[in-house]
Symmetry: C2
Subunit: 242 residues, 2 copies
Amino acid sequence: MAYQFYYWPHIQGRGEVVRLALEESGADYDDIARQSVEEGGGKEAVLGYLQDQSLVRPPFAPPFLIDGEAIIAQAANILQYLGPKIGLAPASEADRLFAHQIQLTVTDFLMEVHDTHHPIASTLYYEDQKEAAVKRSANFIEYRMPKHMAYYERIITNNQTGSGWLIGDTLTYPDLSMYQIVEGLRYAFPIAFGKIGNAYPNLLNLRDLIAARPNINDYLTSSRRIPFSTMGVFRHYPELDE
Amino acid sequence: MAYQFYYWPHIQGRGEVVRLALEESGADYDDIARQSVEEGGGKEAVLGYLQDQSLVRPPFAPPFLIDGEAIIAQAANILQYLGPKIGLAPASEADRLFAHQIQLTVTDFLMEVHDTHHPIASTLYYEDQKEAAVKRSANFIEYRMPKHMAYYERIITNNQTGSGWLIGDTLTYPDLSMYQIVEGLRYAFPIAFGKIGNAYPNLLNLRDLIAARPNINDYLTSSRRIPFSTMGVFRHYPELDE
């Protein structure tokens, strides 16, 4: 049976790292909320599960994945669950723990990126927290972005197989998140990322390796890939980019 | 061989949920950075691993755990790894995924709590971001704290065994994090948490169940438990609590 994937239908958001894994693997899945409300889709489908007070294992927030009777939430948890089933997990337990560790670091980073434009509250408009956003973004650009980039670059560099991937000699699910991070930063912070990007040649190369995957290329050029916008995790506001 | 636990030696921080699990289980472990620098401890021990450019599986930040040749970072990842080994994981795969999902939600919440006092940047003093902290804390108290409390309360309520724990009929590692969250909120936001706490009777009861565990009681009354302070994740600043 097809995997049922639930995330907000108008943004990439925290769900995109899961969408990329489903697409790369060619897994049979339905992006439920992108179907029409009449078909049981729309954001109503997501809200239905979030508001269901009877669930024994409720999700706190999307994304979540339904596989038969299992409901699994948290993007990194979904990827850890799916990885071995869809051929995107490393083979050894040590490498699986490390893949998940990288994914959790990506999770933290995506929250940091989100908070560059929403440092006070998700419930407030950007315009009502712009002053704090300018300050947070400047610090993010100076310290946090390069710290994360250097970390991922180092992992690729230290991979003893020299494959260009993060772990071992084949693509695993956290590699796909590297694509998302590079693309997202290029969209949100074109000036700031442009200044430092070349310091991370292995990371940029990994981004290119992912983009050239046939299934990923199909996905990125399809309507299934939602464009970046000022609704998602990565947002381009020129005043935050310097 | 004893587990080697690495975290900053002067705060509970993001490492405390791991310390609680090690203590509850009675596992043999060394809290390395709390040993003297002469013994190979101190924050220097943590920094040594963070700055080692040669590691194939480097940690991005503490906490991390060394078990033989394995280095495992990210608190939730460590707990997932340790859980089955120290008797604090649920038995079924579905429950293990859910335990980890709860722990990842706790991870997100702890980052949100941290950012109530540091909404602009960890590298800046609190005093230099107090204005934004007041705004973020007000929003946190109004929306985020009750949303998380209600979620954990619901999980305990919906546990079909009626055990008072989050999952099944025995204590598992995310239960220990519920203790930490309740204690932390009571310390950081005594007024705000005092106003809403009674709406979550199962959560408060779970906190009491944990506090009454012999190993936890021993830990909490020992010098191994670092007190809350205005250095950690949970900080009490009266101007942020209303």
